[in-house]
Subunit: 102 residues, 2 copies
Amino acid sequence: MPRETLHIVARAIARAGTESRVREQFEALVEPTRAEPGCLSYELFVHEENPAEFLFVQEYQDEAAFDAHLASAHITAMLEVVLPLLAEPPDIRRYRRLSYSA
Amino acid sequence: MPRETLHIVARAIARAGTESRVREQFEALVEPTRAEPGCLSYELFVHEENPAEFLFVQEYQDEAAFDAHLASAHITAMLEVVLPLLAEPPDIRRYRRLSYSA
């Protein structure tokens, strides 16, 4: 059995008119988050037909690594700007992987 | 700009009591789907606190590859068993990646 890691999938919907500001803020997270020592994978997506819907697919080494991510300067600065621009609170879910790469 | 691929995120919720049957059906998809020539990535997750909630995070080379996946024998056989066991229709969304690996 491979080591268990933490998988987080977060969806955020920008209010109409704020899509490009939210997108810029989200895109700016990619590089510093990937540089966190406990971050194993961090991908940002936008819905094909809805430019307001963003999805982060993330993997962290363990709970401490995810806590460090949430407490990072890049996340706290982003939240201050972005939270008021969202149409609803972000939907953040935690998963365990059932499929393991061969 | 890297080549655009097709990203699909599918969520399915099993009806109470059918979680393990649904999970077996989903787990059985991983190997044959990864063997499809146009499938670049196929991961299956289960929600940490809800054993009825499953998530597939998928990447295909192009539209034709995704069409071939949907028409495959392993998908059609699975759907016949699983669709009646789901609490609601599966939520299947298409995304473009904004983050590219360095």
